[in-house]
């Protein structure tokens, strides 16, 4: 018999996320990993500005709310001051890839020994569905009402591909949470990203392709399908960098 328990690291609070939003899944995966690695008591999480702004209420570890985009800088401060702690940021696409791009790139370049969970749902959810740096070409949002025109506002940013060009980061993987198989892979990736930090390996980022049924204007089920149809073709899943694995291969 499988008993479905709430992970210890997940607070017993009702979340504010919309019906069908995949934030809840990712929160749970992060909490499960904290439990499995036994690190909750020394973990400090950094919440961003965006839909997960109140993530500090949902995890039982110590939590810090950061300014928009600045979570990797805040995490840098925490980790440098408390090197034995486990520090993760939980950021959306606007936070990480737009306003906080400099902090993202430089914390990766420094190979800060932190874990970043990056939720890419191709839209600004919190403010009601505006264009994100990861909004797909042609995708309709409140601020791209005629569809994202790449000639006017440029192309989406592929964060894992971009960061993989840096020498700094230890581990970059893109996963999705739109079906059971993908969720299981996402769990594995998140666990590895935390394990890397426990092992002192350095900057680990997991990009999680997520859905936003509310702002995509879809049913939750349709939104999960849209990930397969539109998102994953543009943002292919997989490992973009794994320094340890690469070293082992060359041995």
């Amino acid at each position: 018999m499988v008993v479905f328990d709430k992970p210890n690291a997940l607070a017993d609070a009702s979340m504010h996320y919309c019906p069908g939003c995949t934030h809840g899944i990712v929160h749970r995966l992060v909490a499960e990993v904290m439990d499995e690695l036994g690190i909750e008591g020394r973990t400090i999480g950094i919440a961003p500005v965006g839909c997960s702004v109140m993530a500090y209420n949902y995890f039982n570890c110590d939590m810090i709310e950061a300014a928009h985009g600045r979570a990797p800088a805040v995490a840098t401060g925490v980790k440098r001051a408390e090197p034995d702690s486990i520090v993760f940021t939980y950021q959306g696409d606007g936070d990480l890839a737009s306003i906080g791009m400099a902090e993202t790139v430089h914390s990766a370049a420094r190979n800060e020994n932190i874990t970043i969970i990056f939720i890419n749902n191709a839209i600004y959810g919190m403010t009601g569905g505006q264009m994100a740096p990861t909004t797909l070409p042609g995708q309709v949002t409140q601020t791209s009402p005629y569809g994202r025109d790449v000639n006017h506002c440029g192309f989406p940013i592929k964060v894992c591909e971009m960061l993989s060009e840096l020498d700094g980061p230890e581990y970059l993987e893109r996963v999705a949470v739109n079906n059971v198989k993908n969720v299981k892979n996402a769990k594995k990736a998140i666990k590895k990203a935390f394990q890397n930090q426990v092992d002192g390996k350095g900057f680990s980022l997991v990009e999680v392709i997520s859905s936003c049924p509310t702002n995509w204007g879809m049913t939750p089920k349709k939104a999960l399908e849209w990930i397969d149809e539109k998102m994953i073709p543009y943002y292919p899943l997989g490992v973009y960098k794994d320094r340890t694995a690469a070293k082992e291969e060359t041995k």
Binding site: R80, A81, S85
Partner: protein, 354 residues
């Protein structure tokens, strides 16, 4: 007593910070305060501390925010344009009630401005400096010794009141060398049960946060914060009075301007003019009491500033417009000469003050 050594103001700040137990410094190069970063880069690795050159002023202040959340003493330093970039972080530090020390070695502005000394960030420093209702404790050194002393004091006040202390210096103070003695007895920092250092599974989780979506709650934390501010006004205001006992004219100046003013006051006294100086050491809280008292005794106040006139507004409030307050100023990186101040004193003495 420790031997006096000649130190640059910027270096005195850095060494005093280390003595005060600051083991974490984050910054971004900008003239005229880069000596602080250079000093920290050299010293921090030797004392098991952290110096990190951040990718931007914004990142630096947020690294400060992260360390402050863990309860360790932490600082950053910059000069005017860089402080503007840190504004966001200053507001978040205030909103989350985190202690930290920020140094602004001011240069002329606005915009990119220049690199010569200025006091034109007075408004920015004393009136908040970014969005929301908040204050920083603003300390204005007028000697290299005070650069060091007020750094130590700044850390202590920051911890005591869980807020940001700012050293508001200028390029002259940062670059000049004077004898300085660094012998301090550093009291242990207070317990910080609110710090986010991991629950160790032994307590409820701590949250460092400035988001309060319920207006009633946000109002409550603002009122509570201002009760703390009231206590600071009551207990921590600092100023120096020089020859004010029998003064007919009161000169008001802080930092380098006060040094220049003293020369002018000494000369004016030689010429028989009874003039004194009130030098605010805390710019916030502003020393209202001595100005209020002076307003009943002197016939005019002269505010000497390296700006277009900023502190003068606080002086007018504190003196309740009982006496005329005139401005003697230079701007853009220029410094008033003692002769200019003397002329302003004479004009005020002759009733020529506006």
């Amino acid at each position: 007593m420790a031997d006096k050594v000649l130190m640059k103001g910027n270096e005195a700040i850095a060494e005093a910070a280390i003595i005060a137990g600051c083991k974490h410094y984050f910054g971004y190069p900008i003239t005229p305060q880069t000596e602080i970063a250079a000093y920290m880069a050299k010293r921090m690795p030797k004392i098991g501390g952290v110096f990190l050159q951040a990718e931007s002023e914004i990142a630096a202040i947020n690294m400060v925010y992260g360390v402050a959340a863990t309860g360790h003493r932490v600082m950053t330093s910059s000069s005017s344009p860089g402080i503007s970039l840190k504004g966001e972080g200053l507001s978040y530090l205030a909103g989350a009630d985190l202690p930290s020390l920020i140094v602004n070695v001011q240069r002329g502005g606005p915009g990119l401005g220049g690199i010569q000394p200025s006091q034109s960030d007075y408004f920015q420093a004393t009136k908040g400096g970014a969005h929301g209702d908040f204050h920083m404790i603003v300390l204005a050194p007028a000697s290299v010794q005070e650069m060091a002393d007020l750094t130590v004091k700044g850390f202590e006040l920051a911890d005591k009141y869980r807020m940001t202390s700012m050293i508001l210096a200028d390029g002259t103070m940062g670059q000049m060398m004077e004898p300085v003695a660094l012998d301090y007895e550093i009291a242990p920092a207070p317990e910080k049960p609110w710090a986010t250092v991991g629950t160790k599974m032994a307590r409820e989780h701590n949250i460092v946060n400035s988001l309060f979506l319920a207006p009633e709650e946000l109002e409550r934390v603002n009122f509570e914060r201002y009760e703390r501010y009231a206590a600071i006004k009551e207990n921590e205001t600092m100023y120096e009075e020089y020859m004010m006992e029998d003064a007919d004219i009161c000169v008001a100046a802080f930092g380098i301007a006060a040094r220049v003013a003293k020369n002018a006051i000494n000369e004016a006294r030689k010429q028989g003019i009874k003039v004194g100086l009130i030098r605010p050491i805390t710019l916030w809280p502003f020393p209202e009491a001595p100005f209020k008292k002076a307003a009943d005794k002197v016939k005019a106040v002269v505010s000497v500033e390296l700006s277009m006139g900023q502190m003068i507004e606080d002086i007018r409030l504190a003196t309740e417009c009982k006496v005329p307050v005139s401005l003697c100023n230079r701007a853009g990186g220029m410094i008033p000469s003692p002769e200019q101040v003397l002329e302003a004193i004479k004009a005020a003495n002759n009733g020529g003050a506006k």
